[in-house]
Point group: C2
Chain length 467, copies 2
């Protein structure tokens, strides 16, 4: 039986073995663009299921749907990896207004930040203090903070070409703003949405109180960029205007959820594991198409493209759909913990969690020598306009797999439009272009094909790990 | 007076002269992203004016608006260059259906192709013959064509990464399909829309009968990709089904229109002219935001960014908004003809007519030695993720300026989404991302800054052309 399988494998892989890398990569791109499956899967995840907040019924439906789809691909193994996740619920729709004077109000668009406590039942009304970030807050006289609503209004820097850098330069306001303001006795926090675009949509996202005692935990919400500008303008006219908001979000008990995993076992070095993944949970305002439905369906399609193009991997390929990236990272931690427990050797992990836009390349988190190794492959990508191979971060979900000698990588799509949609009601299926999504899948598959064929640090690993 | 001006110029240009190219280019990008004007201009062109078919009132309004805007920039000269343009009108909305049998019909979405004749007043109904292009048509028995509606259904090749190549591989069906079918006695032509996307929108575009006698000029229309698929599927079930369509478009007499031109006179080599432009006319189904409102407002903003960042050009910079690119190219021909008449030396001409998407680079139409000259500048663009400097086509409007020793160039934005919008009702302002548009402007301005500073083939030109 074993011999027959090996013979079959040998025969099936003949056409691929005879191909140059250029030809194989061309065949991967052609197949993805002619016969990709990612867009169809994404349509289901987005349009039939929708937003998939950790612990929600939709998240569970997404687990079952993707497991079933992976099951249908004829992989060697598909399984669910249990993980307890936090469950935060938004409650009834938030409501907010600017009170110019009693009776004269202007409604504005807000949404609770993930992890925030509720306001009192009757809502919260107070004067505001506008600051440009946490440092600015800390530089103020604490007396001017007490009892106020702190309005963090530092915009994303438009001059940074990589919009993720602009996001990184602002997001501490959202994540830690309420904690810092709470320590100073503020009543609540309103944060300018993390978006370059001036529009009416509030963008949610995670925040944390860390170890702050309950008494200092104050409600925090994001306000749309247009209304942040409006509020700031009105505060210049009259610093005494008040802000009212009401939200009923709450943290429930942790609930059982799952990472969804599928695997093709390697035929030569099965103990060398290559993972590709995205996160299955999303925020609840949109349907999570770019963040990160796109990364999930692309990752699933990577394994399907191996099958479709007849490439039998030497190493073990795993797609991992991580649960709870957005507000806990529990799935990623569980996956890495179990990998360690089992002594698994993860030589390469690729994450797609930057949207389903035209791929530009990858960033690699690895040693210089491993980077030089992968850099050799860059010319193979030139026909596909993939030009970005740089050292840098990989992704939140593959981060915990970091080892001394492995390579972590993140797909880097064009980032200009990402934050127009990120964590907002506008993160929807219609904002994803089919070709852009499929080019991303093909780019990911091609890199994994090369990692699988040539290995990472091949001298050491081939000797030690042959089954 | 002249000396004072020169002194002033010298002083004003000091800060810039002291800057490295890296710093100047950074300042161009920063200014475009913080204080760009292109998006606001585009909003007016698209939302306040709309589709700008040659010879239409809207086209005239666009001429006046852009002339006024250029006037407000303090350029050295702004003028209108008269040009007679064809005027084709769509008439009442087109109407079409598939007739399965008398009384059983399915409405489908079509639009007349630009330049097409009308159907008879009562419409045209006939059986169909589906072909995969003009070659396929010519290979058929002419008896099978006569009296039929020829249905050109070759799709764009999804495997070509540059979508313009896929367009190039199909568009002969649209442009010459009716002429070829008319010669063979067909009754009419229906062409699959030039789009990768499967949707309900028909995409118009130009067609020509060339020298065909009137009696052989048959009406031609585009059908949406979804309905092309539907029609093809139904023809497989029953080749005898009929197609009905009705359109009342017509060619009017030529009318007076204009190219809109603005100029900053060079302070060292004013006789060396650098142009940047797009086309002001558009099709009528959408508002022409990507094709080519984007290219117009970017080109206008190039000159404004020179002013805004304090760069005084050595050479003469001209923005040219060409009229009638879509169905005649009269503006481009007129501009080149006048340039020749006046003995103007156009050393460089840049066109932006590939949509307002994230810029990836340029293609250059020039000699190998001139290409090597511009290629030196490529590393300066790396921080802005501009990676594409290749020899190739430039653009339809700058093409007539081709000389022995000049450089023509086209901005090359990401092309994946372009044909979703091209010539269809979906070419609208909301499909343009502000940052993507502004990055394009900055990329164009940076290249022109370098051309202006270093010249093209500088040894010859500096000697000959010093004022």
């Amino acid at each position: 039986m074993r011999i027959i399988t090996l013979l079959l494998v040998g025969l099936m892989s003949l056409p691929i073995s005879a191909q140059t890398d250029e030809e194989t990569i061309k065949s991967i791109f052609d197949t993805s663009l002619i016969n990709g499956k990612s867009y169809e899967w994404l349509s289901y995840l987005s349009n039939e299921i929708g937003g998939r907040l950790s612990g929600s019924l939709n998240a569970q439906r997404a687990v079952e749907y993707t497991r079933d789809q992976l099951d249908s691909l004829g992989l060697d193994r598909v399984w669910l990896q249990p993980v307890m996740v936090p469950k935060w619920v938004r409650g009834t729709p938030e409501f907010a207004f600017i009170e110019i004077e009693p009776g004269e109000t202007l409604a504005v668009n807000i949404c609770a930040l993930g992890g925030s406590v509720a306001t009192p039942l009757e809502g919260l009304k107070a004067e505001l203090i506008e600051v440009q970030g946490i440092e600015d807050l800390k530089s103020r006289d604490p007396e001017t903070i007490k009892g106020k609503i702190v309005f963090y209004n530092r915009p994303m820097d438009p001059t940074l070409i990589n919009t993720f850098s602009a996001y990184g330069g602002c997001v501490d306001q959202r994540y830690s703003g309420a904690m810092e303001a709470g320590k100073l006795g503020a009543a609540g926090v309103i944060v300018r949405s993390m978006s370059h675009k001036l529009d009416d949509l509030p963008h949610t996202g995670s925040m944390s109180y860390a170890e702050l005692p309950n008494s200092q935990r104050i409600p925090s919400a994001a306000i749309s960029t247009k209304h942040a500008e409006l509020l700031s303008g009105m505060l210049k006219l009259d610093p005494k205007i008040k802000f009212y908001f009401k939200q009923s979000c709450r943290q429930m008990r942790d609930v059982q959820s799952y990472n969804v995993i599928g695997e093709i076992r390697g035929r030569e070095f099965p103990k060398e594991i290559i993972t590709v993944g995205g996160h299955l949970d999303s925020w609840d305002l949109g349907d999570g198409s770019h963040d990160d439905g796109a990364g999930c369906v692309q990752s699933m399609d990577v394994l399907r493209l191996f099958k479709e193009t007849g490439i039998r991997p030497k190493r073990t390929l795993r797609v991992v759909l991580f649960m709870n990236e957005e507000n806990g990272l529990r799935g990623a931690r569980k996956y890495a913990e179990m990998a360690k427990q089992k002594g698994e050797n993860h030589i390469f992990a690729l994450e797609s969690d930057s949207g389903g836009f035209t791929p530009r390349g990858f960033s690699f988190d690895c040693s210089e020598s491993n980077f030089q190794h992968v850099l050799q492959w860059k010319p193979l990508f030139k026909p596909y306009l993939i030009h970005y191979f740089e050292r840098g971060g990989s992704g939140a979900d593959v981060g915990p797999l970091k080892g001394d000698n492995n390579v972590l990588a993140g797909l880097r799509p064009d980032s200009q439009r990402y934050f127009d949609h990120h964590h907002a009601a506008s993160d929807t299926f219609d904002a994803v272009n089919k070709r852009e999504l499929e080019l991303g899948t093909a780019t990911m598959t091609s890199l994994i094909y090369l990692v699988d064929k040539y290995g990472i640090n091949p001298i050491r690993t081939n000797e030690q790990l042959k089954d």
